[in-house]
């Protein structure tokens, strides 16, 4: 922070910037991927789920793995913003908005992708109109809706503080200024307004933690309440939550590096942030590794006949390469690299963050698919192709489109709003100055 001399410099540094050529190409690629996904979904809606490679065995495929991934990465909002806030972690400020926008966009696409998985998406409203509370799917619908709402509020309240700055620094009468005024022209920064806002953020910080834990626990229950090899576990809630924290932290490290490079935020997102976040990733990777050992070693030790097919397919069978790559890539390698101070420098930390996120996506695929292909009671006389699953191009297009959609939301957000809270950063700087004097 030593380089930061005054509030106007901070404002100039952190105000949203126009996209350069790189930014435009990036946005263009994301838009194309989204359109491809939409075309894939158009085919799925008009021709039916037959365009997917999901059949009687693998009735949950890449969409559900992707859904679990989105839910997992969304947990980061509660980690960085709420837990760090409640624990008075001072260095959190530049990371809070990054974490919150990742959370909001991921949970939004989690809701969308679950509708994509439906054979009759127009009946989506039936979940609310005719839902049975006895069904874990209903619990998930409730908790996702709740988490999305809380996450939006958590993003919105601190954003209010920056809106006068944005209104002031945008072109008079422009569409953008009108938009800023629409969402926050009423924020005058009075003491009473600050008091209400701070109080609201405190309430959300406390409330979002159990809701965030609930969302991922309930998602794990979608699996654990089903009697299937690999899912029949009492440990699943904790296993999912620990994995979600890890992928969320990895996602933040990746985003930190990208924003730091793209917007030249080296003075705000410092090496100290990478160092601290890397240490958190190591801790979370070790915790997740511990749960993985529990989930796989204990059943493998017993090797019950009915579960043998599933475990063998993971350890030495069709999924072995993917399984071991995911374990090594998303847990073991990051722990080893990030344990060393040089590994916690921005670039290596970014690479390890990527490893964690990509490995985590495949890990979700491995939680869903091999189990679907290893039923306790194999179906009689099904075509051989039903016993294997590899997503069709429509499934890949839709999945890639949804991932691109998440990134597109984050990209558009950074074009409109400061990715590091301006007001909070200025306030922090003034506090530091005040303490020094």
């Amino acid at each position: 922070m030593s380089q930061l001399t005054n509030a106007s410099k901070i404002t100039t540094d952190l105000l949203p910037q126009k996209f350069g050529t790189g930014g435009r190409i990036w946005t263009g690629i994301l838009v194309v991927l989204c359109l491809l996904g939409l075309y894939g979904y158009y085919r799925q809606v008009t021709l039916g789920l037959v365009v997917t490679n999901m059949r009687d065995y693998a009735s949950w495929g890449i969409y559900i793995s992707n859904f679990v991934f989105f839910v997992a990465i969304s947990l980061v909002g509660s980690l960085i913003t709420a837990i760090f806030r409640l624990a008075s972690v001072e260095w959190r400020t530049p990371l809070t908005r990054i974490a919150e926008i990742i959370a909001v966009s991921a949970i939004l696409f989690a809701s969308i992708i679950i509708i994509v998985d439906m054979g009759r998406p127009e009946r989506f409203t039936h979940l609310f109109l005719y839902g049975r509370l006895q069904s874990p799917i209903m619990w998930d619908v409730i908790v996702i809706t709740t988490y999305l709402t809380i996450s939006v509020l958590f993003l919105y309240f601190p954003l209010l503080h920056d809106l006068p700055i944005l209104i002031k620094n945008s072109k008079d009468g422009s569409v953008r200024q009108k938009f800023y005024k629409f969402i926050g022209s009423f924020w005058k920064g009075t003491a009473a307004q600050f008091r209400i806002s701070e109080n609201a953020v405190r309430i959300i910080s406390v409330m979002i933690i159990p809701v965030a834990l609930a969302i991922h626990t309930v998602t794990s229950w979608l699996f654990a309440t089903t009697y299937r090899p690999g899912w029949d576990s009492t440990n699943f809630g904790a296993y999912f939550v620990s994995g979600a924290f890890l992928v969320g932290a990895g996602g933040v490290v990746v985003a930190m590096y990208v924003f730091r490079k793209a917007y030249k935020l080296e003075s705000y997102i410092t090496e100290k942030h990478f160092d601290n976040m890397s240490k958190i990733v190591v801790l979370l990777a070790l915790v997740y590794l511990y749960f993985n050992i529990n989930e796989y070693l204990v059943p493998a030790f017993k090797m019950k006949k009915a579960e043998e097919h599933h475990l063998r397919s993971l350890f030495i069978g069709d999924f072995a390469r993917l399984f071991w790559t995911a374990i090594v890539m998303s847990m073991i390698v990051p722990v080893v690299v990030l344990l060393f101070p040089k590994g916690r420098k921005p670039f290596p930390a970014f690479v390890m963050g990527l490893f964690v996120v990509v490995g985590a996506w495949f890990k979700r695929y491995l939680i869903v698919t091999p189990t679907m292909l290893s039923p306790f009671l194999p179906m009689y006389d099904v075509p051989d192709s039903y016993k294997r699953y590899f997503p069709s191009w429509e499934e890949w297009a839709i999945t890639t489109g949804s991932l691109a959609g998440t990134l597109l939301i984050i990209t558009i957000f950074t074009r409109l709003f400061p990715i590091i809270p301006i007001h909070e950063t200025i306030e922090e700087m003034e506090n530091i100055k005040h303490e020094k004097t």
């Binding site: 006895q134 009423f186 009473a192 209400i196």
Partner: protein, 300 residues
């Protein structure tokens, strides 16, 4: 001229060699196939012919998918042509004896089925035959003073009519959804000189709402008679607790309809939902308060 003759001769030799090589290659590529036929008859009805096709690869027999096998009854002519079947991924196919063969089938006491594979791109021509002596199982169920007995009599059709068949291995079973359950203490019986096998039924198993179960007698893959099954329904099962499923749907259970959600599952989650959403609405109300304050206060 002489040179031309040499050229024509050379081309002819090359063409002959090529034709020979292609033919030789064609022959070399074609594998051998093993076709098996099996005869299944249920309750003395028209039989079903089951076909299986296998080939030997890496010293192991593997099922052959997608080959068309023609089936014939007694004679490999158009009169005896039953139909053509295509094998599944398991290398299996089946065909019921068409009704047009019923009169012929009823009049004969022995007959044969022929399966042929010809002009297949991957396999050499193959033909197989299955000879069957017509037989049946007569099943009688006795329930005298709560003593339940299954009687099965094996008969074969001969010149003189139906004749009892001794020394035939038979199973007495209860037919269930996935497979047959042995109905007696012994797993198999051998028919006596009168072609009879009998055993006491002492199983205590659930039936339908009236207690109906299906009792059966079965001969498996007999070298002369094929596979025969005879079944009869009897009220020897334990009646399924009358409409227990329907009753449970009227109670508050985890599997009941939404208006029958268990009370604990209604109360606790709804308490949580109301609490959390109450706070969310409070927060939205706070935004409204901030708005009002903004309209009434000057900027700082």
């Amino acid at each position: 001229m002489k040179r031309n003759n040499y050229s024509i001769g050379l081309i002819a030799v090359v063409l002959c060699l090529m034709a020979f090589l292609v033919q030789a290659q064609d022959k070399a590529e074609k594998g051998t196939i093993k076709i098996d036929l099996a005869y299944h008859q249920m309750n003395n009805d028209l039989p079903v012919i089951k076909v299986s096709a296998k080939t030997r690869k890496n010293k192991k027999f593997q099922p052959v998918e997608g080959v068309e096998i023609s089936l014939f009854f007694n004679t490999e002519t158009s009169q005896g042509f039953l139909g053509r079947v295509e094998t599944s991924t398991n290398g299996a196919a089946s065909l019921s004896l068409p009704v047009r063969f019923k009169a012929q089938f009823d009049s004969l006491f022995s007959f044969k089925f022929i399966g042929t594979l010809i002009q297949n791109d991957s396999f050499q021509d193959q033909s197989t035959e299955l000879e069957i002596t017509k037989a049946k199982i007569e099943l009688t169920l006795e329930d005298i003073d709560s003593a339940r007995t299954i009687h099965a009599k094996v008969l074969a059709f001969q010149d003189t009519g139906w004749v009892a068949q001794p020394e035939t291995e038979i199973k007495l079973v209860v037919r269930r959804l996935m497979s047959d359950l042995t109905a007696t203490e012994e797993e198999t019986f051998t028919t006596d000189k009168n072609g009879d096998a009998a055993a006491e039924f002492s199983l205590n198993i659930p039936g339908d709402a009236q207690g109906n179960i299906i009792i059966g007698a079965r001969i498996d893959d007999h070298e002369m008679y094929g596979s025969l099954v005879s079944t009869k329904a009897a009220k020897w099962g334990v009646p399924l607790a009358s409409d227990s499923f329907a009753k449970s749907f009227t109670k508050r259970t985890l599997w009941a309809t939404r208006d029958k959600t268990p009370l604990w599952l209604l109360i606790f989650p709804n308490l949580i939902i109301v609490t959390v959403w109450g706070i969310i609405f409070y927060l939205i109300y706070q935004i409204n308060r901030i708005k009002k304050l903004g309209r009434t206060n000057d900027p700082v």
